[in-house]
Amino acid sequence: MFTFSPEDFAKRTVGSVQEFALLCGRAVGNLFSGRRYWADIFTQMDSIGVGSLPIVILTGFFTGCVLALQAAVSLKEFGAVGMTGKLVALSMVKELGPVLTGLMVAGRNSSGMASELGSMKVTEQIDAMRALGTDPIRKLVTPRILATVVMLFFLTIISDACGTAGGALVSVTLLKLNASTFFHTAYMALTYGDVVGGLVKPLFSGFIVATVGCYFGMTAKGGTQGVGRATTQAVVYAMIFIILVDFLVTQLMIGIFGK
């Protein structure tokens, strides 16, 4: 029944990439001209930002705890347990904070967007919206992109802070380290480049979460099963792109700041 034709596959892939690029282009273009749906933007910020707060705080915190435990074990061998704070802060701010937050929000919101827009698509609500004179990209996609980019930025900062706090808690209570040493080494370890690098990543991840979620939603077809498929695909692709772009941005930052 399913015969694989490389030509077909290539055509479909190129078509999808083109469609995705077009969606991104139009959604971003809408930011700069014409009507803006502020109410939708704030609703989305609330659902994405405030809604993701608990999971972001919890993952950040426990990641920090684990990092401190693991770091202490390895650092003990070199007699450098005092560096735990530095390791926790650097790992959280540069890498784990941005990536884990991105992945958590992708799991939560890319899927949410894909299923919401997908259901609207298969029940013709998107067509109805167009028939009623509203551009669905302007009303549905643009607010989601803006809200995700802005909120993911702040969520990442919160995650970084919670991670460092978690690391500190473990260091002080379990590893019997000095709290002020922990924070001092942590603070001294972070350079301008580390912080900028860590805060640029969520801007990209936020864009990916929203555009991928919306793209799979807007192109869903084939009833409820199609919506389910769109949802799964949205999460998978969003996560892969986040990690891929994380790699590229890290390389770029190394190029710019030399570390």
Partner: protein, 276 residues
């Protein structure tokens, strides 16, 4: 709001058809559904589209509203070709077109009032006026009590009526009804057809209507709205409404295009079988 580039209000009856299809073809995945379809709908006309399931009736309405692109041919609405239009120009045009979708397509996360008011709010109408007009539209479809309900709390027939209210709220110049009576019991169907007749005879709006039920089509052709009695009645002396015309499709081709009398007197074997 930007000045609309176009005003069908100034569109006079002599200026040509409201909707015109010229050799329109559309297909999916290499399979052509509509083959070189041509027809036109004059000002004030009610065009009933009949045909077996899957022959492309819904596609015609979507093409007429610019929601789909034809593969070939030209679709003109209010005398303007949709082909060369940008999406923004199409939004201007759609402001004058009301559409009732086959499955109602109400926004299911907002209530009936917000659904019906959607278009007015988008156009930035004042809240006070919006509310009055929503009530007016809901009164027209006799659903005033459902104003605070959510679409999931309504029956299929009620949803269809809300969808009609949403389509007529800004007094469009063209209404597209996709199977407004599909899947409903005969009594509810008659209620909905009565609404269509009322809209036709009170506002004289040009419309395209898809139906699977022949008796609905003939009710439309043989009844008129009596605004004194507040309901529809049979046109006396066996006369028929002459603004009601038919378009019959079969396998993506037009098999009939004409008036009620021509349809009932046709000798085409497919039509004879279809009508019985």
């Amino acid at each position: 709001m930007a000045e609309s580039s176009f005003t069908p209000g100034s569109f006079d009856a002599g200026a040509g058809p409201v909707v015109a299809f010229h050799d329109v073809a559309i297909g999916f995945d290499g399979h052509e559904v509509l083959h070189d379809l041509s027809f036109h709908v004059e000002h004030g006309e009610t065009r009933i589209i009949l045909g077996p399931a899957g022959c492309g009736k819904s596609l015609i309405l979507k093409l007429a509203n610019g929601l789909l692109e034809p593969d070939r041919g030209e679709v003109c609405v209010f005398g303007r070709s949709l082909g060369g239009m940008t999406e923004a120009e199409r939004f201007d045009l759609r402001a004058h077109v009301g559409m009732v979708f086959q499955e109602s397509a109400l926004f299911d996360s907002i209530n009936v009032e917000d659904n019906v008011a959607y278009r007015l709010r988008e156009e930035g109408a004042p809240a006070e006026e919006t509310h009055t007009r929503v009530q007016e539209a809901l009164r027209f479809v006799e659903l005033e009590k459902a104003i605070d309900k959510y679409p999931s709390e309504l029956s299929g027939g009620m949803r269809r009526r809300v969808s009609i209210a949403r389509a007529i709220i800004n007094r469009p110049d063209l209404i597209l009804y996709d199977s407004p009576t599909g899947g409903l019991d005969p009594i509810t169907s008659t209620t909905i057809i009565e609404l269509v007749v009322k809209q036709r005879d009170v506002s004289h709006t040009t419309s395209l209507l898809i139906t699977h039920r022949l008796q609905d089509a003939f009710t439309l052709a043989t009844h008129r709205y009596n605004s004194d009695l507040g309901r529809m009645e049979l046109i006396p002396d066996g006369k028929i409404d002459d603004s009601t015309k038919f378009l019959v499709l079969h396998e993506g081709k037009k098999v009939f295009d004409g008036t009620t009398l021509e349809l009932t007197h046709s000798n085409d074997p497919f039509l004879r079988e279809f009508l019985t």
